[in-house]
C-alpha cells in the first residue's frame, strides 16, 4: 500500500498537478476573482478542456514514437464543417453533427496513419504535409466567410458555455465533463486493453515489437485515427464554445498539444507517459496563460514560459532516465 502511494507521489503526473495547484493558489491569492467569481471558475475549467482533447490524441501518437502536426488543421476543418452542417441542413440533430465531425477527424487521421505506416516515412514529414493540405482545404472551402454565432442553434452553443450547477466551486462546465469522460476512456484503453499496451511497446522499441509479432502497422494507424477523431471532436466543441469559426480556427494548437503532452511526461522518444499527464499538462499550460497577467507578467511572455517548461520537462525526463538506468545497473551488480 505504501509502495503504491509512494509510486503515485513520485509520479510525474503528481508533480505537475502540484505545480498546477500552486499556480492557481498564487493567482487566486493575488486576485481572488480568479477562482471565486462564477466566470473565473468557469473559464478556469472550460478553456483548457478543448486543448485537453487534442493533447490526449497527441499523447497517444507520441507514445508510439510518432508525432502529429496536423491536429490544429483538423480542428479547424471540423469546426467549419460543424457550422456548415448547421447552416446548410437546418434542424439537423446535434448528435449527427458530432458524429460527422468525429468521422471526418478519423478519416483525416486515417490518411496520416496509412501514409506513415505503409510508406514508412517519418510522421513528422507526413503530418507536416497534411497540416498544410488540411488547412488549405479549410481556407479554400471557407473562402472569406466565417461561421457566426447566430448561425448555430442556441442549444448547441449552450453546451459550449453552460455548466451543471452554478457558482464557483459548485459548478462544472459541460465541456469539461465531456473532456474528462473522454480522458478516462482513453486512459482505460491505454492501460487495460491489449491494443493500448501494445502502443507503449511499439513506442519503446519498434523493431523488437515487430519481431515479437505485434501488429505494428495496424496499431499505428489506430493511434493516428484516434488522434484525428479526438481532434475532430474538439473541433465540434470549438464551434459550440466560441460560436464564431474563421478559417484560421485551431491554428497553432499542434504546438500546444505536443507541449502539453511533453510537459505531462510523455516522452518524445515514445513508450513513456500517460494521457492523464497530457491532460494535466494542458491544464497547466492554459492556466499559466490566464494567471500570468494576474501575477503581473505581461501575457506576451506566455510563450516563453511554455518553451521553458517544455525544455525543463525534457531535461527532467532525461535526468530521471539516466538515474534509472544507473540504478538498474547498480541493482544488477548487486544481485550478481
Amino acid at each position: 500500500m505504501t509502495r503504491g502511494l509512494g509510486r503515485i507521489l513520485a509520479a510525474r503526473e503528481t508533480g505537475i498537478l502540484i505545480a498546477l495547484i500552486a499556480i492557481v493558489i498564487v493567482a487566486a491569492t493575488i486576485n481572488p476573482r480568479f477562482v471565486t467569481s462564477a466566470d473565473g471558475w468557469r473559464d478556469l475549467l472550460l478553456t483548457p478542456s478543448l486543448v485537453l482533447l487534442v493533447a490526449v490524441g497527441s499523447a497517444i501518437v507520441i507514445i508510439t514514437r510518432s508525432v502529429d502536426l496536423s491536429v490544429g488543421s483538423v480542428v479547424g476543418l471540423t469546426a467549419y464543417l460543424t457550422g456548415r452542417l448547421f447552416i446548410d441542413i437546418p434542424g439537423i440533430h446535434p448528435v449527427l453533427v458530432f458524429v460527422a465531425g468525429v468521422l471526418l477527424g478519423a478519416v483525416l487521421g486515417l490518411i496520416n496513419g496509412a501514409l506513415v505506416a505503409f510508406a514508412r516515412v517519418p510522421a513528422l514529414v507526413i503530418t507536416l504535409g497534411t497540416m498544410y493540405i488540411y488547412r488549405g482545404i479549410n481556407v479554400s472551402w471557407a473562402g472569406s466567410d466565417r461561421i457566426n454565432a447566430s448561425d448555430l442553434p442556441s442549444g448547441f452553443r449552450a453546451l459550449g458555455t453552460g455548466s451543471i450547477g452554478s457558482g464557483p466551486f459548485a459548478s462544472i462546465p459541460y465541456l469539461t465533463i465531456i473532456a474528462l469522460i473522454v480522458l478516462a476512456a482513453a486512459a482505460w484503453y491505454l492501460r487495460n486493453l491489449r491494443g493500448g499496451r501494445e502502443l507503449y511497446a511499439i513506442g519503446s522499441d519498434p523493431a523488437a515489437a515487430e519481431l515479437y509479432g505485434l501488429p505494428v502497422t495496424r496499431r499505428i494507424i489506430i493511434a493516428f485515427v484516434a488522434s484525428g477523431a479526438l481532434s475532430g471532436f474538439a473541433g465540434v466543441l470549438y464551434a459550440a464554445r466560441y460560436g464564431t469559426v474563421a478559417s484560421n480556427a485551431g491554428s497553432g494548437w499542434e504546438l500546444e498539444a505536443i507541449g502539453a503532452a511533453v510537459i505531462g511526461g510523455v516522452a518524445i522518444a515514445g513508450g513513456v507517459g500517460t494521457v492523464w499527464g497530457a491532460a494535466i499538462g494542458a491544464f497547466l499550460l492554459l492556466t499559466i496563460n490566464r494567471a500570468l497577467p494576474i501575477i503581473g507578467i505581461d501575457d506576451f511572455w506566455q510563450q516563453a514560459v511554455v518553451g521553458a517548461l517544455i525544455l525543463g520537462a525534457i531535461v527532467l525526463d532525461r535526468v530521471l532516465a539516466v538515474r534509472r538506468h544507473r540504478q538498474r545497473i547498480a541493482q544488477r551488480e548487486e544481485t550478481r
Binding site: N31, R146, S150, T244, A249
Partner: protein, 344 residues
C-alpha cells in the same frame, strides 16, 4: 558511397540552376507590366482590406464592387487572412506585377507597406488608402470615413453616458500597429482627460481583429479589473466578440459595452440588453467612394491635390482636402430604436 563524384554532380546541378535563372533574367526584355491607362471601361480596381473574412470589409468591398459596375471597371478583392503589418506586402507585389490600375488599401501599419506601395506606384498603379491610412508619401489619396476627432468623441460620449461619467473603462482594440486605431485611441485619451476627469482608462488590450483572441481578451479584462464599468471597442470584430462574451457572463448589463460595430452583428446584443448604443458609418458608402476616387485618379480627372473635385455616383461631388484626404461624412449612432432599419 558517391562522395568522390559529389563535385561533378554539384557542378552539373549548379549549371542547370544557372540556366533556369538566366532564362528568367534574359527573357524579360518585354513586359514591363505597366499600369495606368484610361479610367472607365476595363480599368482594374483592386481592393486590399486589412484582412479577409471581416464582415466590415465584406461590406466596404461590396460598395466598391457596386461602384466599379457603375463605372464599368473590373473589380477584384484580395487580402491576407491575418491582419499583420507585413501580410499585405505579397498582395501588393502581385497586384503590381499584374499591372492593376488602382489599389485600394486599408493599411495594417502606417509604414510597413510603404516600400511595396512605392514600387507599385512606379509600375504605374494608383494607390488609394481607405479606412486606415499609411504615411501620406506612399499613397495618392486617403478616403477617411469620418473625422478622427469625431469618431473618438462619439465613442467617449457614449461610454460616459452609459456609465454615469465616472468609473474605470478599458479599450479593446484591433492590431497594435493599426493607424486608425492608434489615432482614435490617442484622441479618446485626450478627450477623456479634457472633459471626463472621473473616468479612468485602465488598460488597452489588442484583439488583432481576430474573433477568438478578442473573445479571450475580454474575458481577461473582466477578470483582471473587477471594478471595470465599461469597455470601448473601436473595431467591429472586437465589439462583436466582446458582446458575445458579455452576453453569457455574469457581467451582462453591469459592464457597459460600446464602440464601432455593424448593425447586423450587434442586433442580437442590443435586443438582449448587452449593448445599449454604438456607432459606425456606412462602410458600403466608404468602399463606393473609394472606388470612384480611384477611378478619378486613373482617368486623370484628379491628381490628389487639395482642391481637386470628383463625382462619386450616388454620393454626389467630393473635394480633396489637405494632405490628400477625402472625408466621407459623420459617424452615426445605432441603438434599439433604429437598428432594425439597417442591413449591413
Amino acid at each position: 558511397m558517391m562522395f568522390a563524384l559529389g563535385k561533378k554532380r554539384s557542378a552539373l546541378g549548379a549549371a542547370a540552376l544557372l540556366a533556369s535563372v538566366a532564362m528568367i533574367a534574359t527573357g524579360c526584355a518585354a513586359n514591363a507590366g505597366g499600369g495606368g491607362g484610361e479610367g472607365g471601361d476595363g480599368a482594374t480596381i483592386t481592393f486590399l482590406p486589412k484582412n479577409l473574412g471581416n464582415p466590415y470589409f465584406d461590406t466596404s468591398s461590396a460598395g466598391g464592387e457596386r461602384a466599379a459596375e457603375e463605372i464599368g471597371a473590373v473589380f477584384d478583392e484580395i487580402g491576407p487572412s491575418e491582419a499583420t503589418p507585413t501580410s499585405q506586402v505579397e498582395f501588393i507585389q502581385t497586384a503590381a506585377q499584374q499591372g492593376t490600375d488602382a489599389l485600394v488599401v486599408s493599411a495594417n501599419d502606417p509604414s510597413a507597406i510603404c516600400d511595396a506601395l512605392d514600387e507599385a506606384r512606379s509600375a504605374g498603379t494608383k494607390i488609394v488608402t481607405f479606412d486606415s491610412d499609411t504615411d501620406p508619401e506612399c499613397r495618392d489619396l486617403f478616403i477617411n470615413q469620418a473625422d478622427a476627432e469625431g469618431i473618438a468623441k462619439v465613442q467617449v460620449d457614449l461610454i460616459a453616458e452609459q456609465i454615469g461619467d465616472a468609473g474605470q473603462i478599458a479599450i479593446l482594440s484591433a492590431a497594435a500597429n493599426a493607424t486608425n486605431q492608434n489615432a482614435w485611441i490617442e484622441l479618446m485619451e485626450e478627450e477623456l482627460k479634457a472633459n471626463h476627469p472621473d473616468i479612468e482608462l485602465v488598460s488597452v488590450v489588442y484583439g488583432d481583429d481576430d474573433d477568438q483572441k478578442s473573445f479571450d481578451q475580454t474575458a481577461a479584462l473582466l477578470q483582471t479589473y473587477p471594478e471595470l464599468k465599461g469597455i470601448v471597442s473601436p473595431t467591429t470584430v472586437g465589439i462583436a466578440a466582446a458582446a458575445r462574451y458579455l452576453s453569457t457572463s455574469e457581467f451582462k448589463g453591469k459592464v457597459a459595452l460600446t464602440g464601432l460595430g455593424t448593425p447586423n452583428q450587434m442586433r442580437e446584443y442590443v435586443e438582449d440588453g448587452t449593448v445599449t448604443a454604438f456607432a459606425l458609418w456606412n462602410p458600403e458608402d466608404l468602399g463606393y467612394l473609394a472606388a470612384y476616387a480611384a477611378d478619378a485618379l486613373i482617368s486623370g480627372d484628379i491628381t490628389g491635390e487639395p482642391g481637386d473635385t470628383f463625382e462619386a455616383g450616388d454620393l454626389g461631388e467630393y473635394e480633396v482636402g489637405e494632405d490628400g484626404v477625402v472625408l466621407l461624412g459623420d459617424p452615426f449612432v445605432f441603438d434599439a430604436e433604429n437598428i432594425a432599419d439597417f442591413d449591413f
